[in-house]
Symmetry: C2
Subunit: 147 residues, 2 copies
Amino acid sequence: MLKSSTPPPMPAEPTQARRFSKARAAQSYALLEDYVELIDDLLTATGEARATDIARRLGVSHATVVKTIGRLKREGLATSLPYRGVFLTPAGETLANKSRARHRLVVAVLTAIGVPPEAAEQDAEGLEHHISPATLRAFAAFLKKQP
Amino acid sequence: MLKSSTPPPMPAEPTQARRFSKARAAQSYALLEDYVELIDDLLTATGEARATDIARRLGVSHATVVKTIGRLKREGLATSLPYRGVFLTPAGETLANKSRARHRLVVAVLTAIGVPPEAAEQDAEGLEHHISPATLRAFAAFLKKQP
DNA sequence: CAAAAAGTGTAGCCAAGGCTACATATTGGA
DNA sequence: TCCAATATGTAGCCTTGGCTACACTTTTTG
């Protein structure tokens, strides 16, 4: 054994590992959430969601968008026909609505706490994907009694 | 032009693209922050930080850890000698301290808002990497006047 | 002090999410 | 109507952050 002169450092701590894994997993879904939310926006606003529009909005190449749309389809969140834009499946719409609601709630809480609006919007973009249901409930409760 | 029957949907919106890029960039640094913080913990607690310990703590294979340590070294945050563990450069220590302080602040704010402790810890793990300086200041101010 | 155990390193694989470059569809307009 | 502009698709490349498998050091221990 390599130099275990020091006592058993910390008790194996599966806790940190679990938290870390969850955070990683959340991250892997974050992009999909951003996409369905944006696609839903575009569908509502203009009746269609084209790869190029999405690319422009996200500041990413259209090739990247096409590839990600492929992933959305594999995950059952979207459908598309060649040269005919993207549409959301019911699962995709549900996710879009949930994401948007959560985004708004996060921004509202940050603002209520005193975060400047622009910073609140910016940070929410990254934060929102890591908010658990429990935290979401706490946020809602906080807003209710903090008008 | 493909069916732009509808009027210019939304005004090109570089804003969203910018936010999205920032969130992506923050994410790419998140892992490094987690590593330096953990390495600092291990060094403080036991005097050394070995790849296997880190792997156990993060629930990841040692090979993954070794590779990431390589990245830490490339970024000037850590040093290491073959078979002799990892150490932080001054830059690495600074980052570790900043990360830890931020983590604690995030947990404190979440708790103050009414998020259950375990959820606060879990969510902070993912959130903390997306908190801007402005938001951090707002958090500190909020805690001060909300005892 | 030699063998077993444990840590470390390296190679090669994978998927995700970027990119550029090039090929193919579609459509608006001259 | 046909052609140029724009969208879309596809291929190939890169980096990250995972993994397993195998080789090699270093400690422990019998």
